[in-house]
């Protein structure tokens, strides 16, 4: 039982005259209302997306999920292209970000000289604080040209004609595309995953790690055989949390993915994600099937991220305090 409940139960008979006691109930109701408001907001969000997207689900049925045609002129819409784009960019981003985040977390907990620990920790936090639109501008104007010149061109030149590798890397070498978007996403989710992993690693009891060191293990062995197994569940949660962020990230991706509808054809090709499609088109979409399809896309995104985030929260529990 909470303290509030205990004291109000015990105090009612004699303490009714205490100054301002009559406000107790009102204050509790006020707090309760605020908490319930958040619940209602989330509920309202789901319901409004479902209702708003319903015309699209009704008109296209299952084809909405299986086709990638997105044609405002003929008023035909399919979500498969955007959904694939979302999943592919997030997956690549995670693939890049996870090892780096792990490295940073381990560095901060195990290897970093104490003098540098705070500045580097703060720097990584700042990386998390940079607004997504700034990442987008930097990605488009600074990173993409550099990437096109120093990475994309050499790779495309060296790809053997007709090989699988050549197919995977065709595209216009202007820097914008699936892979660039994934790399920017990776930089954006990196600090979140690193921070969560770091918090988790700090929860490992010192004795456990010290006994492993005492047996003569190297840092690598302690991390691999003691630390990581210890935080395994939470670490998977941290990864899912990063994935959830990548899936819903909008502005940075809108800047650099190239915004082409349909299935992405290669890692250098333009593509689109659910969020970038909505950001690009919703303000101009006329009421009707076009805007309904965009809201339906939003509903799909909600379902995907809700599943991922819910799983993340369950796995992390409350130990990481994030």
């Amino acid at each position: 039982m909470t303290l509030a409940a205990e004291t109000s139960a015990a105090a009612t008979p004699r303490r009714r005259s205490a100054k301002g006691a009559g406000f107790d109930r009102a204050f509790e109701i006020l707090c309760f209302t605020a908490a319930t408001f958040l619940l209602t907001a989330l509920g309202g969000l789901v319901v409004s997306l479902a209702i708003g997207g319903w015309p699209a689900f009704e008109a296209f049925g299952l084809r909405f999920f299986t086709t990638a045609t997105w044609d405002p002129v003929r008023d035909v819409y399919g979500a498969a292209g955007a959904v694939t784009g979302t999943l592919v960019t997030s997956a690549i981003a995670l693939l890049i970000a996870l090892p780096l985040a792990l490295g940073i977390a381990i560095f901060l907990v195990e290897l970093c000289p104490p003098v540098l620990r705070r500045p580097i920790g703060t720097a990584v936090e700042l990386l998390a604080g940079i607004p997504s639109i700034v990442y987008g501008m930097w990605g488009l104007f600074v990173f993409a040209p550099w990437f096109a010149k120093h990475v994309q061109m050499p790779i495309m030149m060296s790809a053997e004609p007709g090989s699988f590798w050549e197919k995977l890397t065709t595209g216009v070498p202007n820097g914008a595309g699936i892979l660039t978007a994934s790399i920017i996403l990776a930089i954006m989710i990196l600090p979140f995953i690193a921070a969560t992993l770091r918090e988790l690693m700090l929860t490992i009891p010192a004795q456990v790690r010290e006994s492993a060191y005492g047996l003569g293990s190297t840092t690598f062995e302690v991390i691999r055989k003691v630390s990581l197994p210890y935080i395994r569940t939470g670490a998977i949660g941290a990864v899912m949390l990063g994935l959830g962020r990548a899936l819903g990230e909008t502005m940075a991706v809108t800047f650099i993915i190239g915004n082409a509808h349909g299935f992405p054809t290669s890692i250098f090709a333009s593509g689109s994600t659910i969020a970038s499609t909505i950001a690009n088109e919703f303000a101009e979409a006329p009421p009707g099937l076009h805007s309904a399809s965009l809201i339906a896309l939003g509903f799909v995104l909600f379902v995907i991220t809700f599943a991922v985030l819910a799983l993340a929260r369950i796995l992390i529990g409350r130990q990481a305090n994030l």
């Binding site: 004291t7 303490r15 908490a35 969000l45 062995e221 991220t305």
Partner: protein
């Protein structure tokens, strides 16, 4: 496992490679941060310099967004952003403080409390563009118009879960003896919360509010179809309202050099605001834990 059979050299090599990797990973993150800050400064500062005289140029803060080719600044966007963030923060602080208090003081172990705590955590990291869609559905479409208030509502809905979470966390840290002491003096529960718990937790609660402010001041996606944009200076929040993020988005993707210059200057402004608020919040939190 083959640890005993493994020669020492391979263990040392693995250890060495591992150490190098951790250093490299950290350096990669720091280089990315430095590169972004450098671009922001080198490109953004040009917006503060008069192209003709080379002196300091405050047009940014005194003129509204221009037509391509003419002179102008970001005054309307800065004002619009400030107004919307202020309205959003007022709402979010009230909801967040109260909801956080309820979770910590009244519903710590109840099922309903657990449900709300869980859903609040989900809302906390839900894609912000969906919040924009939601607000569009309930505030923009029914009232037939984009407005600054709708933008503020979207921002508020993003800030509230952040404040709720931090408030609950910091209130939970307050010692039980504090509550008992106050109640033993005859104070009703609400006064205990108001005058004792909140007071002792105030630095943490303020940190939460600052972090929420940092989060929403750079948010773009939810404003695209709630506040929309406005070319002119306007203090009327019931009309479409100019705001920094959307202006940056539109100007950055335009073909005009002077618009892009303004976009970089705006990006620098936003990033500087967000980063300094974040740093202040961290310092505040740190001082509290030290004392």
């Amino acid at each position: 496992m083959s640890t005993t059979a493994t020669p020492r050299l391979s263990r040392r090599l693995a250890q060495g490679a591992f150490l190098v990797f951790c250093w490299v990973a950290t350096v990669v993150a720091l280089v990315a941060l430095a590169a972004i800050l450098w671009s922001l400064l080198s490109q953004g500062l040009s917006g503060f310099i008069d192209p003709d005289s080379g002196g300091l140029d405050l047009d940014l803060f005194t003129k509204s967004t221009p037509a391509p080719g003419s002179e102008g600044g970001l005054l309307n966007a800065i004002l619009g952003s400030l107004m919307m963030c202020a309205v959003a923060m007022v709402g979010a602080v009230v909801i967040g403080f109260l909801a956080g208090t309820w979770l910590s003081e009244y519903a710590r172990d109840s099922l309903y409390g657990k449900v709300i705590r869980f859903l609040n955590d989900v809302l906390l990291s839900a894609p912000s563009i969906l919040v924009g869609l939601f607000i569009y559905e309930i505030l923009v479409f029914p009232f037939k118009g984009f407005s600054g208030l709708a933008g503020a509502a979207a921002l508020g809905l993003i800030a509230a879960p952040v404040i709720t979470r931090t408030t609950e966390d910091v209130l939970r840290l307050q010692p039980k003896a504090l509550r008992e002491a106050s109640v033993a003096l005859g104070a009703p529960v609400w006064r205990t919360i108001f005058a004792v718990i909140w007071k002792s937790a105030r630095a943490g609660m303020l940190t939460g509010a600052l972090l929420a402010f940092a989060r929403i001041s750079g948010e773009t996606a939810p404003l695209l179809f709630t506040a929309l944009n406005n070319q002119f200076l306007s203090l009327d929040l019931t009309k479409p309202t100019a705001n920094l993020p959307v202006v940056i988005f539109n100007f950055a993707l335009s073909a005009y050099d002077d618009w892009r210059r303004l976009a970089w200057a705006g990006a620098l402004l936003i990033a500087a605001t967000v980063l300094s608020v974040t740093v202040i919040a961290r310092i505040l939190a740190r001082e509290k834990t030290r004392s």
